[in-house]
Each structure stands twice: as C-alpha cells, then as structure tokens.
Amino acid sequence: MHLAGQFVRRILQGVVVVLITTFLIFSILRIVPGDPVRLIVGGMAPDNLVEEIAQKMGLRDPIPVQFGRYLSQVVQGDLGNSYQRPKNGMMGQGGDFNANMDVEMAEVSDLILERLPYTLQLAGLALLISLIISFPLGISAGLKPKGFMSKIAFFISSIFVSIPNFWLGIVLALFITIKLGLLPSIGYQNFAYTILPAIVLAVETCPFIIRTISVSFAEISQEYFIKSGKVRGLTRNGVIYRHTLRNASIPLLNLLGIQLSTLLGGVIVVEYIFDYPGLGQLTIYAVLQRDFPLIQGIAMVTSALYVGLNIAVDLITYSIDPRLES
C-alpha cells in the first residue's frame, strides 16, 4: 500500500485508540468511589451544597452525556480546568470547606505543557542510557549466543528486571547523592537532577532492549549473507556494524517505540520518589485529589503520544523495509 495511505489509516486507527482510552478513563473515574465535588468544596460542606455544585458542573448527568460534552470541548482545543489547582497555587488534600468556587482554576493544558518537557527530558535521557548499556551487551551476546558475554548479558538483565524501581531510586539517592555527593537527585534545579532518575528508568528498560538486540543479532548472524561476509573479504567489524546491525534495526526500532511509551508510564513512580516536577508527579497528585479533568487530560495526551510514537516507528520501518507494508 502507498505510504501516505498507510499513514492516514494509522492516524485514523490512532484516533480511535485515543478515543477508547479516554472514554475508559473517563468512565472509570466516575465509577470509582470518591466524589470530586466533595473534595472541591471540602468535607465540612453540607450534602445539599455538594449536590447543588455537582448538578451545576454536570457531574450527575449520565456518563455518555458527560463524555460527549467533554469531547466537544476537546475538539475546540479546551481540555478544561483543574478541579483542584487554582491559577494562584495548589489545592489542599484535606477535608476543609474551601469555598473557593470563585477562585480561577488553572487550565489543564497549561498544567500539562508546564510539566511535559521535564518528563520528555527524563524519558529521552533514560532511553539514551538504556541504549548505551544495551548495545554492547546485546551485540556481544547475540554474536556468541552460548558464550561468556551472553551469560553476562542474561545475568545483568535478570538482575535489572528484578530490581523494584522505587527501591533502586532510594538506594541510588542515598549512595550517589548523599554518601558520595556526586549528583543531586531530589527536586529539580538543573539538568543534573535528571540523571539519577533516568538511570533508574534505564535499568527498567535495559533487559528488554538487551534481549531484543541479542536475539535479533543471533538470528541475523545465521543468515547466509552474513556468514559469507568474511569470504567476501569484509572485516569482522564491517560485517557487524554495516550489515548485521542494520538488519537488526527493525525489531529494535519497534521495541524502542514501545519502550519510550512505557517510559512515559514508568516515570510516575520515579518522579514521585525524586520529587521530579514532571507529568508523572502531576498524575499522582491529580489521582490523589480526584482531579478528573487533569487525569483525563494527562491520559489523553499520553495515549496520543503513545499512538503517535508507534505510528512514527511503523512508518520508519516501512521505509526501511518496504516488504513490511504488505
């Protein structure tokens, strides 16, 4: 199929995926216990006031009606306003009767755009660190699947995949930041604060990349055109880097698309532990505060990012290997 046709088809599929995800999140939020209106007006507010405000906000309408209203706002580029975060500050999480319905609330899109660059920076660096660790390990393991390096790669992958990220985060902060004073890690003041959280995320993703590279390399190494490379007078490095690596790039590219999207999810715990001001931390506080519009906005943006990344990866792989289009 024509590449442009593929592109349009994937975009349409992506829109459907984003819509379904958004609808699911939208519905679940309204089904789980925890009335956001109670949190907006506070635990001390009388029930009739809670109901009055809920009616006014349309939160007692059937879910499809609410979703339709929400979508009509979204198509106009309006993700709504936070229920809990005024423009001038943060909303508490206790049960006080805050009675601040007149206070102007922050726009969800502003809150997301404020935090997104930090998260992209963290996820990007994590991916870079993962590749730096995974490439040498994966390639050497793939070249000799039964060799010593393969065992090392398997051992390291097994350890990495078994380490809980919150534990690793605390241990790294204790040793690298506090004991050795090498890198700062709690909060954010400059780029250096991204490194330790990125290492924690990289440890999570490395095992998958190492495995993909080693399997892919092992398979391609068995191909005739690779085996005959030496006979054709090519150097070992030439065979590896100019032929094997290029042919192994397609599964790796697909995996990277998935891993980068997974990283966007993985940042939630890591950002919370490191007090890193990204989208993950914002998500946790939004969930704790039952901030429906913010949770929905974040879900929509992250699912769109996920879909967008995977479409981009697909298109690139089609370009590299046109046989995949069919």
Partner: protein, 529 residues
C-alpha cells in the same frame, strides 16, 4: 503516478543521528546547567530556607476558609498575630506581644489591646485598629469555615492603635481571646472588604511576603519593612513533598533545610547520618479515634466505652516509638486545662465485655460490621496502629473492618454529615497553634459545631458553656480540669489515643528557627550558615 519516498537505511541512520542531536539540544538547552559536572550536591551557602512540607496548600489564601495545617504553617511566615505563644514546656501559657503591645481585661466582656505603631502590610497599607476590627468581626462570622472563634465578637475602635474586643452581646467572656490572639492571623481591612482579594493573594504583616506559586512550591521573600527589621534569610520556600522518604532524602542531600512529619526509622537514619538537628516536641495535637455518635451503634455511650476499654494504649505507644506520648484527657498535655483524668478507660477486656453486654451486644453478637477509617501518607504509623486496634477490637468480638485510605479520600470522609458521617469510627488528629482548649473541645463536642462526631449532648454543651463563661482564668482552669475533662472521658465521644510528638529535622546550619508545638514557625531572626 505517485512517487515513492526513497528512504535508505543510510539516510535513516543519518537522519536519526541529526534529529536526535537536534531534539536533545531543543529540549534540554533551556534547562541545561553546564556547571552540573563540577557542582556538588551539597550547595548550602546563599540558599534560601527550603521547608519540605507534608501537606499541600489550599490555594485559597483567606485564612478563614480552611483548617489545613500546612497552610497554618505558611501563614505563620506571612501574617502577623496580635501575640505569639511559644508554648514552651516550662511555661506553656506565656504570651509574647507581636502586633499588640499590651492586653488589658477591662471587664468580663471587654478585652483591650494596644497595638504596635509603624507596622505595614505587604502591600504598603499601614496596620491599625480598623484591621483588627475587620479581621475579628469577619473571622467570627458563623459562616466562616475555619470556625476558630468561640463565638461572634464586636470590636470597638478606641483610637488608631487601640481596640476593645467586646463579647457581652454574644454571652461569653472576652478573656477567651487572650490565648486566641496568638492564633488568629490579622488581615488588612481592605482585603476583608473584598474577600476575593484575600482569597487570591496573601497580604499580611509577617516577616516574609508571598512572591509566587511555582508548581508545588510556594515562594516567599524577606519583608524589608518588617517591624523587627528585615530577616536574615532572603527567601523561604514552602515545598510540598508528599512522600516521607523523599523528604528525608532531600534533607540528607541538602536540597531542603527543614522537614517535618518523619517516621521514627527515618529519624534514626538522619541521626546516624549526622549534621542535622532534631526538633522533638510534644505538640498541641492529640490523635483520636472519633466515633460517629449520631448513629448506631455509637450513639450508645456503652459501645463507646466498650471500644475505649478494648484499646491497649501502651501497645500503641510501642508502635509509635518517639512519635507519640501518653495523654490523659481530650486535649494535648501542652494545652491550657490539661489534666490526667482519674479513671481514664484503660485496656481492660472484662470491662469491655461488661459494656458490650450493657449495649445489648454481649461478646459483640448482633453487631453489624463496623468500618474504621484511617489515612496513610500524613500521620505517622496510622496503618500499623490501625491494624493493631482492629485486631484488639476483633479479639473482643467487635467486628471491625479497617479502611486505609489515601489522604484525599480520607479527607473526603472525615466530617460529620446529616445522618452521621461515613463509616463508624475515623482516625484523625487536631492541631491548633494556641494553648486555648476550646479550639479542640468546643469545636468537636459542642452541639453547635460537632465537626467529626456529630454528638449532641446537653450535659457536654452545659459544661462547655460553663467553662467558656467562667469569670476568671483560674476558675476556668478549675472547671476544665474537674468538670469538663472528666465529663468528656465519661461520655467518650472519641478516644484520645496518644499525644503527637512533632519531629522536625533541620540542617545544623539553620539557627534560631522556632517551631511551635503545632508546627507553625518563626523565622524572623533565623539564619543559615
């Protein structure tokens, strides 16, 4: 015929390398600090005072709209008070004058304050009698959510710097405002006249003025016109950091100078690390197990007493370690009127069974499943001792289900509602910045307020009115100790579980930062390094 896009592997690799570098430059350049390779993680000199707080602010800066402890701490930096009460253990009722210079009891219903001259609000408006009048009359309105006042009040402006607090019209003595004056932040009369201003930005007379809200961080700077002189610390940041482990790591790494609400094991880590000072003080907070007294089964006093006798409070203190201390009545040991009430229900399974039988549920038979709600993430060890209490109650045949909720959901369910609040029992502390006991007992047990319990009891109302209306401080103290506190123990609308010990940890180079027993702070003379 359409032209196929030619995209060779070589082109792809080149393109990816270029776009990767470009994207890295675009996304990181604005944030990149090239000094990071040689900057230590322990930068301290010239840093502002960064307080890692356990509670988020409400975003509505009007002090009369909330009971949020985090915001009370913030207000202690920005707002001024007529007096301040350090509540030191050796002299818990000592008052220091701040915006007032003198307090005189004119008669039972009139308390006169002379005010300090030369004080200005952060917006430049001079402070005077009209501001005290506006603040007190506004804050004491029955519709104000914070409800810290014992009742409505009128304020007479005698002259520019003299006010008289008058309570005769409302039937209680003005002397109650003696201690309360240390807890009620003073607003500008202009902001009271326009509450939207009060809600949208804080404007006080305090040592630090609000600059901006940066994400979850609230930034203040030294007030050059502060009446005691510009503070030595140029900037204070109130950073909301929800996770206790993160607060500890941030303190240890030098990112924060002060933090609060630490778990005992984290205190051990900080002590072992060295270089930090601990501020450990019995707070104004008691932790309680509150009963929903307006609905079965806890509308029956016997059920409340049965539960009180089923709880081993010594066991609770073992779980809490340094975070808790014994309390013998319904206010904290540092509050005015505290006493160890004789006959306070201690752990006694026989008595528990006796009261269960009296309530009509021998050995707990016939009782429905009772929900006990608690929170995690703010108070220390709530889940651990919640499980312990649940086990103790189950052991006595009382079927209890523990619901452990995160803070937002717990706050959602905290207060009494029509027909009784959610669940049957709920865990909560109550912490106020004054020795005044009515901020706790009247707020929670008088039928005009009954925040969490929903209790309506004519005997309690009468006792609370009697102590409030006592003709002198001495007589009031006597009534509190001999009548009110024993009556509350007898009626047991909540079980005082223990007194909270507030633990703040701070870097050794933070000097002269005073932390009040409710967590509020004074940093006007503090310094770093």
């Amino acid at each position: 015929m359409s032209k196929k896009i030619k995209f060779s592997r070589r082109k792809f690799m080149k393109f990816m390398a270029k776009s990767g570098l470009g994207a890295a430059a675009l996304t990181s350049a604005p944030m990149l600090n090239h000094n990071f390779l040689y900057n230590s993680a322990f930068a301290a000199s010239g840093k502002p005072l960064i307080f890692a707080a356990a509670e988020a602010l409400t975003g509505n800066w009007d002090p009369t709209t909330h009971t949020n402890l985090g915001q009370l701490i913030f207000e202690s930096y920005v707002f001024g008070y007529l007096t301040r009460c350090p509540m030191k253990p050796e002299n818990p009722t000592q008052l220091n004058f701040e915006l007032a210079t003198e307090a005189t009891e004119i008669d039972k219903f009139t308390l006169e304050f002379k005010l300090r001259d030369g004080v200005t609000f952060h917006n430049g408006k001079p402070f005077g009698a009209e501001d005290v009048k506006a603040t007190y009359e506004y804050g004491s309105q029955p519709d104000r959510p914070a409800q810290w006042y014992p009742g409505q009040v009128d304020v007479e402006v005698v002259d520019r710097l003299t006010v008289r607090i008058k309570t005769e019209k409302y039937g209680y003595p003005a002397g109650l405002f003696y201690y309360l004056s240390s807890f009620l932040p003073i607003l500008s009369a202009d902001d009271v006249a326009n509450p939207n201003n009060a809600a949208s930005r804080p404007n006080g007379t305090g040592a630090f003025k609000f600059v901006e809200q940066d994400g979850d961080n609230t930034i203040m700077e030294a007030n050059e016109n502060f009446f005691m002189g510009k503070p030595k610390i140029p900037r204070v940041q109130y950073n909301f950091v929800g996770d206790t482990a993160t607060r500890t790591l941030g303190l240890l790494s030098g990112e924060y100078n002060v933090t609060e609400r630490l778990e005992p094991e984290q205190v051990d880590t900080i002590v072992a690390n060295g270089g930090f000072a601990l501020n450990q003080a019995v707070s104004t907070e008691n932790k309680y197990l509150w009963f929903r007294c307006s609905k079965p089964p806890f509308n029956d006093i016997n059920m409340r007493k049965a539960v009180a006798h089923a709880i081993d409070r010594e066991g609770l203190l073992d779980i809490l370690g340094i975070s808790g201390t014994y309390t013998g009545c319904h206010v904290s040991p540092v509050k005015f009127g505290y006493t160890d009430v004789e006959g306070f229900p201690e752990y006694n399974p026989d008595k528990c069974q006796e009261y269960l039988a009296k309530a009509g549920f021998p050995k707990g038979k016939g009782l429905p499943e009772l929900e006990y709600i608690t929170s995690v993430g703010f108070y220390p060890k709530t889940k651990e001792y919640g499980e312990y209490i649940t086990a103790l109650l189950n052991e006595q045949g009382i079927p209890v289900k523990l619901s452990v909720l995160e803070l937002g959901a717990w706050g959602n369910k905290l207060y009494d509602r029509e027909g009784g609040g959610p669940g049957h029992m709920i865990d909560c502390g109550w912490c106020t910045g004054s020795p005044e006991p009515d901020l706790v007992i009247r707020t929670h047990f008088h039928s005009s307020s009954k925040r969490i319990t929903g209790i309506v009891d004519a005997d309690i109302d009468a006792a609370l009115d009697k102590e409030r209306n006592a003709p002198s401080v001495g007589e009031r103290e006597q009534i509190l100790k001999t009548e009110v506190m024993p009556l509350l123990v007898d009626k047991m609308p909540s079980v005082p579980l223990f007194g909270s010990v507030f633990i703040h940890a701070m870097a050794n180079d933070v000097k002269d930062l005073y932390i009040y027993p409710n967590g509020m702070m004074s940093a006007e003379t503090a310094s770093i390094g």
